[in-house]
Structures are given as C-alpha cells and as structure tokens.
C-alpha cells in the first residue's frame, strides 16, 4: 500500500514542478513578443481561429445565459423586490461575472482543448522535432502567436457575450415578465458603473492568456499516440476551466 504522506509529497512536487514549467513557458513565450510583427501572418491566423470562429458559439451561450439570468432574477425577487430592478441586477451580473467567465469557459472547451490536441498531435508525430530541426523555435512559432491571439481576442469575445446576454435578458424581461423597454434600460443605466464592465474585460485578458498557455503546455507535453492526444484535450479543458474560476476569485479580490 502506498504511504499517504509519500503520495501527497509526490503529488505536491509534481504540481510545483509543473507550475515551474508553465512559468518558464510563459517567460519564453513573452520573450518572442517583440518580434510578433514579423510573425503577423501566424498571429492573424490564430486571431481568426480563436476569435472570429468562436463568435457564433459565444453568441449562443451569451444569449441563453442572459435569458436564464432574467428568469433567475425574477424568481429570486418574487414577493420581495420589484421586477423593475431586474435590468440592473442582471446587467451587473453579466458585466462582472457571467460574460467574462462563461465566454472564457466556452473558449477553454473550444480553443484550449483544440490547441492541446493540435500541438499534441504535432508532438507525437515528430512535427515539433521537425520544426526544431529546421532551426525554428516551437515556442516562437506555435506558442507566442496562440497566447497573444487569445489574450487579444478574449476581451472582444467578452464584449460580444455581454451585449448578447443583455439582449437575451431583455427579451425575457420584455416578452415574459412584462417589463417595458424603458423600465428595463433605465434600471440598467441607473446602477451602471464603468468599473463593472472594465473589470470584466480586464479579467478576460488574463483568462485568454492562461487558457492558451495551458493548451500549449499540455500539448507540448503530450506522449503516447492517439490516446495521449485525447487525454491532453481533456486535461487542457479541465485545467483551463479550473484556472479560470481560481483566477476569477483572485482577480475579484484585486479589482472589486
């Protein structure tokens, strides 16, 4: 039977060592940012893949999140608070938490996992070795464009998610809860703080950065053929989604 103390020690050492590897990857990835202009074709391709291609999914998730938020608010307010406050309650929840966090979790599934699978496949088929053998740094060629693209595109996706979620919330409020346009948007304006929306967008910068970084890290560590690639995709999503929630908590303490 395994000694539990030894088991915990081994797991802790493994976790700290992996954290160190991610920090090293982050430093190396950032060291290539000054020459991103030369690699703009790679960056644009990733911005399209991570950003533009994710818009439909973010819009669908955002719309339904907004709609369910209105129902949730109405349910909680019942008998205590007037429904005329739904606009402000829902919009603040969307701008601060729901928009940035849900968009990031969607991107963790769509982009973080796909980065891990793509790089993992390249790893197990020796394509990463082939890049290095041509004198090309895989970090510069693969990691920097993905991390920079995700960091730049995540705030934009969050803005889209915020807008569509607000529309979703309004649709439910207006059509099902009998709240007029004026009452809903007056309520949104009355308690609107620029800090809420900027705080959410600021958080999304970190979310994008971390998601891509985890995808690259997990992808480059892949081993074991097709099974390894599958496991890497799952691992990238689980780690990415967990890191978003942990970061969300830490950033809340700093920003709000």
């Amino acid at each position: 039977m395994t000694n539990p103390i030894r088991y915990i020690g081994r797991k802790t050492t493994g976790f700290l060592s992996e954290l160190g590897e991610i920090a090293r990857l982050l430093a190396k990835t950032y060291s290539f940012i000054p020459r991103i202009g030369k690699d703009r074709a790679l960056l644009v391709k990733q911005m399209e893949h991570i950003g533009s291609d994710s818009i439909p999914l973010v819009l669908v998730i955002g719309f339904f999140t907004g709609m369910v938020s209105s129902w949730q608010a109405a349910y909680q307010f019942k008998g205590m608070i007037s429904n005329s406050f739904i606009g402000s309650a829902v919009s603040r929840a969307i701008f601060i938490e729901l928009g940035p966090v849900l968009a990031a979790i969607v991107i963790a599934g769509r982009v973080g996992a796909s980065i891990a699978a793509e790089l993992g496949t390249m790893k197990v088929t020796e394509q990463i070795d082939a890049l290095e053998s041509l004198g090309i740094s895989p970090i510069r060629y693969l990691s920097t464009p993905r991390v920079v693209a995700a960091t730049l595109m995540m705030p934009l996706l969050t803005i889209f998610a915020n807008m569509i979620a607000l529309i979703g919330a309004f649709v439910v409020a207006n059509f099902f809860l009998d709240i007029s346009n004026k009452v809903f948007f007056d309520s949104v304006k009355r308690y609107f703080h620029v800090k809420d929306i900027l705080g959410g967008i600021f958080k999304s910068l970190f979310f994008g950065n971390v998601l891509a970084l985890i995808g690259v890290h997990v992808g480059l560590k892949t081993s074991g053929g097709a099974e390894g690639v599958g496991l890497s995709s799952i691992r990238a999503f689980v780690l990415g989604a967990s890191m978003i929630l942990i970061l969300d908590y830490l950033l809340w303490m700093v920003i709000f």
Binding site: E126, Q127, D129, L131, E132, S133, L134, G135, I136, S137
Partner: protein
Amino acid sequence: MIEIQDLRKSFGEKEVLRGISFSVHDGETVAIIGASGCGKSVLLKLIIGLLHPDSGVVNVDGLTIADASEEQLEALRRQIGFLFQSAALFDSMTVYENVVLGLWEQGQRDETKLRSIATEKLAMVGLNGIFDQKPSELSGGMKKRVGLARALAMEPKYLFYDEPTTGLDPITSDQIDLLIYNVTERYKATNIIVTHDLFTVQQIAKRVIFINEGIAYFDGTPDELLSSSEKVIQQFVERFVQK
C-alpha cells in the same frame, strides 16, 4: 566533424545508451544499425540537441551541444537536414509550404526564388506537380521524398536519415535507397543513416556502426560487418546473408 564521447541516456529505468563513443568525419557516410529500441534514433536526436544526455559529450564542429545557447543550437540545426522516420511533414501545410518553411523562416521572402528552389528539390527526389497537395494526400514513399526535399532545401552540411525505408514496400525502399545514394554523391554532405535495413547499409554506407547494449559494438566497413565472426553480429545479419 561530429564527436560523441561516453554518451549515456536513460528513459525511466531503461538505460538505452551506456557510454557510446565515436566520431564522424566531414564527408563520411555512416550507417548506424542495431536492434529496435537500441537507441539509434535517440542518438540522432541527442546530436542535434532535441534530447539531452544524462552524461557524456556531443561536439559538432567544435560546438558542445550541452553548453550551446538556443541561438547557437538553432544556427547549427539549420546546417543539418533531418529526414524523420515518419517524414514528420507539417500536416496543416501544403507540400510547397513544407519544403520552403525553413528558408521562409530564415527570411527568404522572394516567392519566385522559393518556388524555384522547391521545384528543384522536389524534382531531385522525383516529384513534380504536387505543390498544392497536403501530406494526407501522399503515399508513405512520397512523404519520405518530400521530407528529404525539405531537408535538402536548406543546403545542409549534414544529412541525418532516421529509418528512411522503414514501413515501405521493397520497391519503394530500393527507390529511396537509390535516391539517398544520389543525394550523398551529389551533395558531398556528411551523412548519418540510422537503419536496420542492411540493404540500405550495403548500397549507401562506407562505414557502419553497430550498437549493441548501448555502446558502439562494431565500427567498420559493411563488408567487414557481413563477414564478422562475432555471434551477436552474425545473428543480426543472418537474415540478410541468407537472402
């Protein structure tokens, strides 16, 4: 010149290389043979710094790989053409993009020149009119040829071949052997061919190193290898001699 001194490499509990030493002089064509899993491919990756040894020294043109900076390693790797066992073509790119990637990344942006180089190198390996095809559309033999064209595009000083005929049918294997022979004759590069195909060894190599139990057990000419009275070597070459 490549110098390898007392190189050791383990993967987990398994020690693959146990203090191997040898040198490869400029212009030589050396075959490295041995049983599957004896560390032949690992050796190639250690030479270009894709893997790190547990101990021992690899020197290439006076540069000690373990002490080299990233920039030095990248510069060295640009002088080494590497044909991978699986060809390792970039599957998101076309054949043309695969062949010219190294040159493009070195700053060569003249499209006419790049197309001319790609046409020349692909013709050299017997391929024409496949610029826009993706690797998934190619056969195993064609992939190896494109991989070789990609390696040649950089006009390398060294050419490393990792199992160039593994997984190919006998006719395609012969074609690849002939191709490698022509390339070695034309380029006068220093060639290291990792293989367990003794046909390849006999047709191309001038010198052969047999790895056994993690060391260079035999170092001589292909004829000396085939006539060796060592039992381990006889067992290895037996099938080939019978044919």
